[in-house]
């Protein structure tokens, strides 16, 4: 089975200035994203993430190398039938309502009228926008734009989703719900390519990640492979007093082990926020 996404020797140069000096945005990138996983693309600003995504979507032409989507060259229009794309900080036709917008993109993807009506209702509900679907897009908040953007990416039921910073501008409640939704998509057999600067979220969400720097692939693998491997473990126990702590240290020393850190286990601000503001899981998975 062909990988969901594949780049081989992908190079993208941009001419800069009057003399058109070449600036290399992507440098001989080899990536292979297996189907059915959440794959994170990480890297600092200017590392080539967005250019890679644009090359995968056929929006920029590679200077060298090739990109494939489920085995098809990504420059082919037909290859994009299998792709749903949410751009970073999306901006949509302001004069349309949310429902009209999702319907417009659905029709562009070739959905028939009857199928379209069903799909629009499904995806609008899936992203928690049913209540605001008949409002003009120009009245939407940043978070709502992300949600309706996700709905338009999902409307034609693609096998692959490319989400560029899907939680940018979304509050923690929305981010958590978005993460749940992305996991749900993976569980339904979709492949998700994700970029984000929220490394904690990426770590919790992604099955595999690739780290880019200056257009080059500097690391790739599962989160456990990349972030694990210190040879240490974290144990969470009930609070120990000073005497018990001394006893524990002695017990470990006898066995050739050391205690390298002690910290009070907190619930984390995220958990407190979600609990207090929380309408995440109980109320229709609003983002």
């Amino acid at each position: 089975m062909a990988p969901a996404l594949e780049t081989r020797g992908l190079v993208k140069d941009f001419p800069v200035g009057l003399r058109e000096v070449k600036l290399r945005a992507v440098d001989h990138l080899d990536l292979s994203v297996p189907a059915g996983v959440i794959y994170g693309l990480l890297g600092p600003n200017g590392s080539g993430k967005s250019t890679t995504i644009k090359a995968l979507l056929g929006l920029v032409a590679p200077s060298a190398g090739e990109c494939r989507i489920f085995g098809r060259p990504s420059g082919e229009v037909a290859a994009r039938r299998d792709v749903g794309y949410l751009p970073e900080a999306p901006y949509f036709y302001r004069h349309l309502t949310g429902r009209e917008l999702v319907g417009f993109y659905g029709r562009m993807c070739g959905l028939g009228r009857r199928e379209l009506a069903e799909r629009v209702e499904t995806v609008v509900a899936q992203v928690g926008m049913t209540g605001a679907a008949d409002r003009a897009v120009e009245t939407y908040s940043k978070g709502m734009l992300q949600r309706i953007g996700l709905a338009q990416a999902l409307v034609h039921d693609p096998r692959l989703l490319i989400l560029d910073e899907p939680t940018a501008g979304v509050d923690p409640v929305g981010s958590a719900a978005m993460a749940d939704l992305i996991r749900g998509l993976r569980d339904a057999g979709k492949t998700v390519l994700l970029t984000s600067h929220l490394l904690g979220q990426m770590e919790a969400l992604c099955d595999r990640v690739a780290i880019l720097d200056r257009g080059r692939l500097v690391a790739e693998g599962t989160v456990a492979e990349l972030a694990g491997g210190t040879g240490r473990q974290q144990l969470e126990v009930d609070r120990l007093d000073e005497a018990q702590m001394t006893e524990l240290r002695a017990w470990l020393a006898v066995r050739g082990r050391g205690l390298h850190g002690v910290a009070a286990a907190g619930r984390g601000l995220d958990a407190v926020f979600l609990e207090r503001v929380g309408r995440v899981k109980g109320e229709g998975k609003e983002l």
Binding site: K54, L57, G58, L59, V60, A61, R72, E76, V77, A78, R80, R81, D82, V83, Y85, P87, P90, Y91, F92, Y93, H95, L96, F104, Y105, R107, M108, C109, G110, G149, Q152, I162
Partner: protein, 278 residues
């Protein structure tokens, strides 16, 4: 999986969306308002008729308003509707779908053509109404002068509106061609007005070069003639009389001339846009 052949449905959807976006633009309201005011006010301006018959003067005012404000509207709307897609990155989302760039660009062109069709239809209708009313008044004042019935050929007015629309479509296609490779909207607008001037005046230049007998001049004139349409071809004889109605074959040829130029410029725009990085 099947391929994704060129789709007129998708092209139509882009056109429909472009039109919806365009009719909400204040620019359209401004130019439409000015043109309507000029047509409606033509009767009040009849003291400046320079000896032309009154009804002819009103018709000239109407078609003049269509040319002036229609051209400005066409150039500005084409450039703005194209660049708003690029700058707001709505093109990014759209072209990430299984959509051909040709569908996107030609859809934009058809959307602007529909907009200009509405503009021309509205103004032509209004002009015909103004002429009808004034002609009726003149008939009441001077029944002898209109013994043979109405003098204005309203079919001629409609044909004038049709040819005006053809010119605006050609202008939109050339503006889109420039926009397809231009980096800024201002550049596309300036070039659009340049094309308008060349298309209107190139026949004068060709005549002058031919009169001067210079081989270089004639070659230059021929070059411009090959690169740009001659808008003088797309104008009716200086008359409103039914007797001067062009033959159907002539109208077909003129329509083919206008749409042919628009299609050629549109296809060149598609070629240029094919490699543009979004």
């Amino acid at each position: 999986m099947k391929g994704a052949p060129f789709s007129f449905l998708r092209l139509g959807l882009v056109a429909q969306n472009t039109l919806r976006e365009a009719v909400r633009q204040r620019l359209l309201h401004l130019f439409l308002g000015l043109a309507l005011a000029l047509v409606l006010g033509a009767r009040s301006l009849r003291d400046f008729n320079f000896g032309a018959p009154e009804l002819k003067f009103i018709a000239d005012c109407g078609f003049g308003a269509m040319t002036l404000f229609g051209s400005a509207l066409t150039i500005a709307a084409t450039a703005q509707l194209f660049f708003s897609e690029i700058e707001n990155r709505t093109a990014l989302t759209l072209l990430a779908k299984p959509v051909w760039r040709a569908e996107f660009l030609l859809g934009k062109l058809v959307g602007v053509a529909l907009l200009t069709a509405l503009f021309c239809a509205l103004l032509t209708g209004l002009l015909a109404a103004v002429l009808w009313v004034r002609e009726g008044e003149l008939m009441a004042l001077d029944p002898e002068g209109f013994r043979g019935g109405r003098a204005v050929s309203y079919a001629m007015v409609a044909l004038g509106g049709w040819l005006q629309w053809l010119r605006l479509v050609v202008l939109a296609a050339f503006t889109l061609l420039v926009a397809s490779f231009a980096r800024t909207q201002v550049f596309a607008v300036v070039c659009g007005f340049g094309v308008l001037v060349i298309c209107h005046l190139q026949h004068l230049a060709q005549e002058a070069y031919t009169r001067a007998g210079s081989a270089v001049g004639v070659a230059l004139g021929g070059l411009f003639g090959g690169m740009f349409p001659n808008f003088q071809v797309l104008s009716l004889a200086d008359s409103l009389a039914a007797a001067d109605l062009p033959a159907p074959g002539t109208m077909v040829r003129l329509t083919a001339y206008g749409l042919g130029w628009a299609l050629a410029a549109g296809l060149l725009a598609v070629l240029s846009f094919r490699r543009r990085e979004i």
